[in-house]
Amino acid sequence: MKTWIAFWGIVRKDMKAYYLKPPNVSWGLLFPLAWTGMFLIRSGRDTHSLLSVLPGMIALSVLFGTSSMLAVAVTFEKKAKAFERLLLSPIPLVLLMLAKASGAILFGMFNALVPVLLGFWFADLSGADWGMAVPAVLLIAVVSTFLSLLLAILATEVFEVQTLSNFVRFPMIFLCGLFFPVTALPGFLQPVSFMLPLTYGVDILHAAIQGERLLPAALDFAALVGFCLLLFALCLRSINRHWIG
């Protein structure tokens, strides 16, 4: 019970101190709104085009929503020694890291609502399989959060983590099948795509919204879960090695 009080304390504190700050909320709304609006205008009223870009927009919103604030917040807390307070508390490290990740995961999922709501407005989403799309959004949020947590642990300065994040996030926009299929990429780049977790999440979203898929859903989910576990294990290992050395 006491551990869960600490867990929710960390989630609430992060929400209050970082995620629910007006600049972050407005950014979280404007960023997906601008991207989605741009693609919707470009697509006109062509429903097929709309549905083909919507999975990419959802994934993009989640990716940037989860990674924009978390990495900076963790690096800042580490530099200001505020993260020490968490490490000194009796909450187990696994739960502590999950608590830190939870705020970003929730915020990333909130960002995904913008393209989804716009999608409902401009396109016919009655055929979408939400039973598959919602877990996919959750897993994309979790995997993006753990990735950015890992970068935050490895970096020492805020500018370092921002640079590292951009080196990871922007290539994923092109390599993970967000706006065109992975199969349209040059052959030598396709193996790289399958080394990136977002590819599997976007494939599930394409299947759920458009009914077009590259891989079986079970394989996509298994790959995403595998990436989540691997990245979280790397986070724990890195924090044990670098911060509690």
């Binding site: 209050k16 200001a80 000194l88 508390s89 187990p92 509690i244």
Partner: protein
């Protein structure tokens, strides 16, 4: 070394290396329950590294730590329930108010909402911060920040409190208030482990002190026993311009019973068991071509014991972090 079966802190053979450097080199000590233990040494002596190991922020390369009888290598989280830690930096959350920072600290230790709100209000009152409770931490002065950090460390009523330089770089009033609060906590039975550069602060507050230099403890004893050799001794500090050209041997020959040493090239320290008279010494020095700027009688203190034992000038502590003696 004194040992106790029920030590609040027990460290044995602690070693911490950073590459080829042994920052902490095999230290042993016990802190009795309810004790006020001072850990004194210059920068780089290994004080903060030791605190990090004791509190679970760092793992020793060798040795063992017990906190309240709990083996920290086996169960560090259980030990962390018992302790409160005041870091050398005011590391609360700038975006949260004083009240919210305290409530968050309580939540980290599993305190329920009502209990942490009540305790936070009590502590804000006790630390003279009630009027600033709703202000963001970033808007606090340095002294207020240090007070709030200490309040945050005791939110969960720890049995043992670690403080790393709690009064460094803050105003006199806040320092005095912090010292009073620490004395009060000590009287209430909290075991306190204090590192400080301010030797007089340690002398006033602590009942036992360890001197650490170069990663090794050079002496651990009660304040009374540490002060014993200097009781009844008098001292004179003579400030010179251009250094002392008279050999110390000649001074000792001319003034039998007085001990001379140069604490700095321009500072001559004289000690004796007898009352000292500055006039004859100043005249002697000036007759021998030494320019005397000032001769000052002073009371010997723990600072002199520290210099004697560690061979490190307290002046070097002053330069490093604004420590040494103060009002």
């Amino acid at each position: 070394m004194a040992t106790a079966d029920n030590a609040a802190i027990r460290a044995r053979g602690l070693v911490k290396r950073f590459g080829d450097i042994r920052a902490v080199d095999g230290i042993d000590f016990d802190v009795a329950p309810g004790g006020f233990f001072g850990f004194l040494g210059p920068n780089g002596a290994g004080k903060t590294t030791t605190i990090c190991m004791l509190t679970g922020l760092s793992r020793p390369d060798a040795g063992s730590i017990e906190i309240g009888g709990i083996d920290c290598s086996r169960n560090p989280k259980a030990a962390q329930h018992l302790i409160g830690v005041v870091s050398d930096e005011s590391n609360l959350y700038p975006e949260l108010s004083g009240f919210d920072n305290l409530c968050f600290s309580g939540a980290l230790y599993g305190m329920r909402r009502e209990a942490r709100r009540r305790k936070a209000s009590e502590l804000l009152e006790l630390f003279g911060l009630a009027e600033s409770a709703s202000r963001k931490f970033s808007g606090y002065s340095k002294g207020m920040k240090r007070r709030l950090v200490i309040a945050a460390a005791i939110m969960h009523n720890p049995q043992l409190l670690f403080l790393d330089e709690p009064t460094s770089g803050i105003d006199v009033e806040s320092s005095r208030m912090i010292r009073q609060l620490l004395s009060r906590l000590h009287r209430e039975g909290v075991t306190i482990f204090l590192t400080t550069h301010f030797i007089d602060e340690a002398e006033r507050l602590c009942d036992r002190i360890a001197f650490i230099a170069g990663g090794r403890i050079v002496r651990t004893d009660t304040v009374e026993r540490l002060l014993q050799p200097i009781q009844g001794r008098n001292a004179l500090t003579v400030s010179l311009s251009g250094g002392c050209t008279v050999p110390l041997g000649e001074l000792e020959h001319s003034f039998p019973g007085l001990d001379f040493n140069l604490s700095a090239p321009d500072e001559l320290r004289v000690e004796s068991g007898e009352p000292l008279k500055a006039g004859s010494l100043v005249r002697f020095l000036e007759e021998h071509g030494v320019e005397v700027v000032e001769a000052r009688k002073r009371v010997l203190s723990l600072e002199d014991v520290f210099v004697e034992i560690t061979g490190i000038g307290a002046g070097s502590m002053l330069k490093e972090k604004g420590g040494g003696r103060r009002q």
